[in-house]
Symmetry: C2
Subunit: 423 residues, 2 copies
């Protein structure tokens, strides 16, 4: 079979970057390279689905094997990502048709979309529309999200590494606060991501292995925040342990459903202040209890922290990338490789397959039985679930004392369409 | 010589904890244990100088060799620290006399105080007063501060690890922002410590190895902040690179000397908001330039991040601890072991000795020739100075996916004085 007749493939990254989304890219690319008898060229869309719409494609075959291997230890989204949600085919018909037009122009037979539930939705719709338009396409999702909120999979690649980062960081900061509490900081507040689902907040709880160890209070977005109960717990903790460490989800809301981060704080000009629930909590502790607080907002640091990634997470991210190519070559469509847990202790997992219509637009929150009755701690069940996900170290190579991350050439593919896309 | 006749030693930790102050403790304790023919018991003061004032001492001989070894990889201050500055002997005479009384009660012949320039000052004064009171004491400082602002030493144990952490983190977050910039975050702001000296801010600059790499803008506490110049640079960077990463010192001030972090932001109740210059900068970028910002405040995470400590820093912290004991045994008094750099490339250093009166109460800021003319970058001279300090990895052991840090027993020493100290 001559190479010219092989159809090409397209990979794209979507939504927030993670420490390991490039490990999935590595899995896709290496598997596609090994399948050179079946797959022509693997392209990547620059900046996610926008690159596909704009016919702004990258030729991954121009990257060396070493560069692709280095993706496995490089955070961020190496081909660029985007926050861009396609609406329903009824509302956004022209965009879906444009996508199929671009795929057709480059003879794309396989499309891999690496993202969360929005991306699963886009992949599913593209799969249906291409079929309706008579364009043969295998559209495969590749799971990714630090929020761990995808259904149909035991966990989401990206989450285990954030979990390891936040648990490590809060353990370390907890030792610091414990040192200082006699004359200085009594309460430390760490704000973590997870606007709707408290998985990252829950992961902070892994740092405490024995009674009294930090973190002492977890604030979940799934539970309404009650100031009096919270302050009473902080006071009780300081009085018994000497200090108190709090992990708070950026998405914590009061009983009226209002985000605490938008508690009406304004700057000198009367502008509403940008986010940050940690300073709100710290201010509350200082004003109501008189304890000196310190606070940190990890923000992107947590989801980019490849230097302390979970080996389990990296392995799973790589494996779902590989598996996506395998599914594509088996002729599967509108599916996503997922993580199936077969045993807690010892931890065992395998790759399964979920249909995209079971994944798209659903959101998995932390179940109530993973949180203690008082709402401030994780339960043994949560620990059993979370613990294996942070296991193992696979640090990047360091050069001159800093992690050596790869920047790809990202050589563009020559455009074949005359028309440009107007978003 | 019978063991009963040997004089004892006292070690105390002071000021903010670091990732490696316990490595210095390890150096002191291991050296004291090896000198068992000369030194009786090594005690530690609980919570720094307060423990000495309160006669609240810890018997380090109750700790196993393994526990002491583990201090070398454990952040925080294992014996507790404090923020408590003794005033002049004229103002605080009773406290200095109390200190000598406690030292005498426990037959302390050597005092090791591990801290910054305030601690050097306290150590110096204690040395003088004990001499005036006819109490024989060898008082030795052990350098420590993440701020790197001690004079008389090439660098300060604690700084290299923060430097490695912030440079690593901003490199990682930079890759994340670069991924997202096409449709989402354009500007990322990381706030770092260093209220008066911008060494940590400067260290962020190590992450950028080639033109255009993040961080693009550094904001030093040594230079007055000018909003227009800053915003112009951010705009120019976004227009040329696509995004902009900013590292800002918590201590940045405007031309009138007012901290930006206190820019008049108030919460819903009209209370002044607690610190946080990163949200102020982010708000400014959003309001004036319309770019979507994200911001992080590393706070204690940066100075507790033993998981990504610099091996150079750990080695130096350990060595100054050892050296302090050696100096004490040589009969030196009112001195501090310091780091002397003998070569930049290859980096070579040795232990030197500084008299405490040269160290106490001085503060070393970032020299102007370490900052580019425009004030937003580090120079080649700064890079030459900073680069070796972050080199080398010496991660802690991990257990179940998280760093395994030691908690000491911290068994109390029986009090010998009848009176309690009233601060």
């Amino acid at each position: 079979m001559s190479r010219a007749k092989l159809r090409n493939a397209l990979y794209a990254q979507s939504g927030g970057a993670t420490a390991v989304i490039n490990a999935s890219a590595c899995g896709v690319i290496e598997a596609a390279r090994r399948a050179k008898a079946r797959i022509g060229k693997l392209y990547a869309a620059r900046n996610g689905i926008l690159g596909a719409l704009n016919e702004d494609l990258i030729d991954t075959t121009k990257e060396s094997a070493a560069a692709i291997r280095a993706l496995k230890h490089t955070p961020g989204a190496a081909f660029g990502s985007c926050r861009y949600k396609l609406k329903s085919p009824e509302e956004d018909r022209a965009k879906y048709e444009r996508l199929v037009e671009v795929l057709r122009a480059h003879d794309i037979g396989w499309f891999f979309y690496n993202g969360g539930n929005d991306s699963a939705d886009t992949t599913l719709k593209l799969s249906k529309i291409s079929a309706a338009m008579g364009y043969p396409l295998s559209a495969i999702g590749v799971p990714k999200t630090i929020d761990n909120d995808l259904v149909g999979t035991d966990c989401c690649p990206g989450f285990g590494s954030v979990a390891k980062y936040v648990a490590t960081s809060i353990r370390e900061a907890g030792l610091d606060v414990a040192s200082m509490a006699s004359t200085s900081t009594r309460v430390f507040v760490l704000e973590v991501m997870g606007r709707h689902a408290g998985w990252i907040t829950a992961a902070c709880g892994l740092a405490a292995e024995r009674a009294g160890e930090p973190p002492h209070v977890l604030l979940f977005p799934e539970l309404p925040f009650d100031e009096a109960t919270f302050l009473a717990r902080v006071k009780q903790t300081v009085e018994s342990v000497g200090y108190c460490v709090v992990a708070v989800s950026e998405g914590v809301r009061d009983a009226q459903g209002k985000f605490l981060a938008e508690a009406g704080s304004v700057d000198a000009f009367g502008h509403k202040q940008l986010g940050g629930v940690a300073p709100v909590i710290a201010q509350m502790v200082q004003a109501r209890l008189g304890y000196k607080p310190h606070w940190a907002v990890a923000d992107y640091l947590q989801r980019a922290a490849r230097h302390v990634a979970s080996k389990t997470d990296v392995d799973q991210a790589y494996r779902v990338g590989q598996a996506a190519v395998k599914l594509a070559l088996e002729g599967r469509n509108a599916v996503m490789p997922v993580i199936v847990r077969t045993s807690d202790r010892p931890y065992r997992w395998k790759i399964g397959v979920a249909p995209l219509d079971k994944v798209a637009n659903h959101e998995r929150r932390v179940p109530r039985d993973f949180v203690s009755a008082d709402g401030f701690q994780i339960t043994a069940a949560a620990r059993r679930y979370l613990a294996p996900l942070v296991v193992g170290e696979l640090p990047p190579p360091f050069r001159n004392g800093l992690p050596a991350y790869v920047r790809l050439r990202n050589a563009p593919v020559r455009k074949r369409l005359q028309s440009a896309f107007k978003a």
